[in-house]
Amino acid sequence: MNESELDYEGGDLQKEDPLLRVEDLRKTFGGVVAADDATFAVERGSITGLIGPNGAGKSTLFNLISGFYEPDGGAVYLGDEEITGMRPDQIAQKGLIRTFQTPRKLEGMTVRESLLVAPAGQRGESLLPLWTSPSSVTAQEDELLDRAEDLLSFFEIDHLATEPSPELSGGQLKLVELARAMMTDPDVLLLDEPVAGVNPVLEEKLAEHIRRLNEEQGVTVLLIEHDMEFIMDLADPIVVLDQGRVLVEGTPEAVRTDDRVVDAYLGGVAE
């Protein structure tokens, strides 16, 4: 019925154990179709890359999955549960945590505080327990401080613990952001350009950290990145998005040599 289905080839749901499934996800802004029945799945325990030329709809897809945009059609499943249309905070509490392309600086908070805030549903997030059970509140905060310290040393930024967040460099912010996301003990991490604007040395380090989080902690990762070398090296499989549709999905080698991908990047000569 839909013309686009004819040339639709990428994005299969035939995974052994998909943790995140996106089915026929659709979103239009005015006349622009930002997500055009996008379909793909992320295997549990994988690092899946999401690439595509500018305007392909990668960030829109992230916003749809994480609940910041409401889709016009289609569905998102986390495990067996449909999360379409849930609020961002509800989705986050289910274990899907996203980062942002340009992290804003947390005015008035130190680095360790910006980590402390991350876990949802802390006792001290309600006002009454502050006076009715003060020791349980401080005990939990104390535990989280330990956890924050561990994560800061894992990311080798423990020396920044009491620095005001606004004074960090771009690269440090990216590390803090990853550490903060890990504070929530996520099942799936959606990373939106984790190495944009980061120097090559730190880029290497970030790749290593993401790999370790995946291998040691079993975190499933879906990441957007423009740096081809970085993403081809880190992610497998890779999903290629073009004009809101999944164009191809495959191993880095397969994607690299696929004519359709080359065409998409060279400027829409697919027709």
Binding site: P88, I97, R104, G108, E113, G124, T138, L145, R180, T184
Partner: protein, 365 residues
């Protein structure tokens, strides 16, 4: 000998250590407040300032401090723009007046405790009513809605004569003066206690995970949501909490300061005095809010007081009598705002750089 010396020295040493630990802003503010307080006491001692008037000023400062503390929760913690500060103050003042005053059109004459209860419930309900539809929108809508809400409250009070007596206001509100020997001192002590309790409660809240979520919302609401925080719930709590404190300031006004409330007390300009108070003190800082509250009263009262004093000097009295105090007040406010923005854009006592409850940190060592 040595024991005696250490006994003598330790408190001084402790004080010195405390002083050395302070930041420059803190020292300057303490010195400033001490000088100002000293001047007030000296003026009282030589008879220029009537002790009753001094206590009245301090009580008034306590009331404004409650309002700045309330606004600091909304704007300083969470970043919510509330332009109906004086409306919530008025809701508190009128709630108390309507249910307790002998000459209230309702004629209930309840005990003032009920005035407090009604004020808290009414302000919490109305704050929720205005917040629920607007907090889901972007920040500017809340600002516009509160600006409109403040006018609605004033108009309703002005026109619903059957409940509020309209522009004549409600006189004869039971005052602390009716029960005690020295009402000024009791008023001051009562409000000082109230400010202290509110301050401690808000400080604990600020240093908690709750406060941390509020700061995250202020800096980046999307991030707070992405971390699983129901930001609507947090913003609603902040807005209602701040508004209830403003209403308490209104209750304190009618029972402790002036047993009469009229709609002219709800002039929108007073909202902006409170805003100037927290901008001057330092948004997000409770100590700053207290300094801001004191400063508001100083700005509002000093011009007329000084003018009256100068009128006693025959040589300059004719010139002084030409001065329009209302205009001078606004002029001073303008100059002050320019000076703050130019030299101290984060306020006299900006918030500390880290907010973790000290008990939590102590547990670790």
């Amino acid at each position: 000998m040595t024991d005696g010396q250490s006994f003598l020295q330790s408190p001084i040493g402790a004080t010195r250590g405390w002083w050395d630990d302070l930041e420059t802003e803190e020292r300057n503010t303490i010195v400033g407040l001490a000088v100002f307080g000293g001047l007030l006491l000296a003026a009282t001692a030589v008879g220029i300032l009537n002790p009753t008037y001094l206590l009245y000023l301090l009580t008034l400062a306590g009331m404004f401090t409650l309002m700045t503390l309330g606004l600091n929760v909304q704007w300083g913690y969470t970043g919510l723009v509330n332009f109906s500060v004086i409306a919530f103050w008025g809701i508190g003042a009128y709630s108390a007046a309507m249910v307790t005053a002998e000459r209230s059109p309702l004629g209930w004459e309840l005990h003032p405790v009920w005035g407090v209860v009604v004020a808290v419930v009414a302000s919490a309900l109305l704050a929720t009513l205005i917040a629920v539809p607007t907090l889901r929108l972007r920040a500017d809508y809340l600002a516009i809605a509160t600006l409109g809400f403040a006018e609605i409250v004033r108009m309703v009070i002005n026109n619903e004569r059957a409940y509020t007596n309209g522009s004549a206001g409600i006189p004869g509100i039971p005052s602390v003066a009716e029960w005690v020997e020295s009402p000024d001192l009791v008023s001051f002590l009562t409000i000082a206690l109230l400010v202290a309790v509110v301050y401690l409660v808000l400080r604990r809240a600020q240093l908690s995970p709750w406060g941390r979520v509020q700061r995250t919302i202020r800096a980046d609401e999307d991030l707070a949501q992405a971390l699983g925080k129901n930001t609507f719930r947090f913003k609603l709590q902040s807005f209602v909490l701040g508004s209830v404190i403003m209403a308490l300031a209104g209750v304190a006004y009618v029972h402790l300061i002036t047993p009469l409330i009229t709609p002219t007390g709800l002039e929108p300009i007073r909202t902006f005095y409170v805003w100037i108070g927290i901008i001057l003190g330092g948004s997000g800082s409770n100590r700053g809010a207290v300094v801001g509250g004191l400063t508001i009263v100083a700005i509002r009262q000093a011009p007329s007081f000084i003018r009256n004093q100068l009128l006693n000097v025959p040589a300059i009295a004719p010139y002084v009598s030409e001065i329009n105090v209302g205009a001078l007040r606004l002029f001073l406010v303008g100059v002050l705002v320019i000076l703050i923005v130019r030299y101290r854009s984060s306020g006299l006592l900006p918030p500390k750089r880290e907010h973790i409850w000290s008990k939590t940190l102590e547990d670790r060592s």
